[in-house]
Amino acid sequence: MSRSWLGLTCPDPSLAEPGNRPLASKTVGALLKLLEDDRAAISVLSAIVLVVVIGSSALSVEFGHALLQRLDNQRVADLAAYAGALVCNSSGADAAKSAASNIAALNGLTSNNATVTTDIVASPRGNGNLAVQVTVTTSLTVYLARLLTSNASLSVVASSSAEIEPGIVGGRTALLVQ
């Protein structure tokens, strides 16, 4: 059998000839052969680098996708919190929470694909008013990154608060994005 591939020459075959040499010498000989063997050097390097390149590309694209998902979630959280704060004065806290989840569902985040939690909290502005806080969590399936991780999904969270202005029935609310 020919010892060359693609016209490449081999290292001196006598170095690794099994012959009658002792075991340690055989092992060292085999390692030496491997070190001196320059066949397919770029192939080996490319195969290793390809894994790194696919990994980093996957991470960047998947991270970008998660950022996009968060942008979408943030939009829905903003609108839901605003809708909740809007009806709080006229219809009460329960109606406000219900209106917020309703708007989240109307914008595509239902209990099937997202977790929407609504709370009445102190306004983040610290002025003593109340605010409707909506936190939206969705699970994003990852594709390419599965080659590198066993986690098949990412958790994408967005939160928003809208202040309830007291005394104005169904009136203006200050929208606070956090």
Partner: protein, 160 residues
């Protein structure tokens, strides 16, 4: 020539180059799609926040509100970058609604008195819907991010 050694590295590199180019092209393509979708989302958000901040226009001048939102969405990322359709409270500023459905396929239902409880949850209110489209044809499969080379984003804002 078969015994020539010199071009071997170049040949091996040439064998692997398509794989690298495929990965680079795919990454660039997906990244551009994600970037464009985020721009469209920002445009829709801008339109939706305008509707929320100018809620009084729903009853005083719906056509002005509609035109302004359409201009905001269309030009948020450059002149006439996206197309949009805007629906101001189903064309009925005097009533409230209990809309149901999902983005892009909402059902307004019948007009009811404002602040009446809805069977679908919440109370009846006035709403503005925005649906924006931008055309983009990616080279690679897109995991459902586009449909017929069109990226679409819809939002429903409660204004009262």
């Amino acid at each position: 020539m078969m015994l020539e050694n010199a071009g071997a590295v170049a040949v091996e590199f040439a064998l692997f180059l398509p794989f690298f180019l495929l990965v680079f092209a795919g990454t660039l393509d997906l990244w551009y799609l994600i970037y464009t979708a985020s721009q469209l989302t920002s445009a829709v958000s801008a339109g939706a926040l305008y509707a929320a901040n100018n809620a009084t226009l729903v009853s005083t001048s719906p056509s002005t509100l509609q035109g302004n939102i359409q201009r905001i969405v269309a030009n948020a990322n450059g002149t006439s970058w996206a197309t949009s359709s805007v629906n101001v409270n189903n064309g009925d500023a005097a009533h409230c609604f209990c809309p149901t459905g999902s983005p892009g396929s909402w059902t307004w239902g019948t007009a009811v008195a404002c602040n009446r409880a809805c069977s679908s949850g919440g109370v009846a209110g006035q709403y503005v819907t925005i649906t924006a489209n931008h055309t983009l044809a990616p080279l690679f499969p897109t995991f459902g991010l586009t449909d017929n080379s069109t990226i679409s984003r819809s939002a429903m804002v409660e204004t009262q």
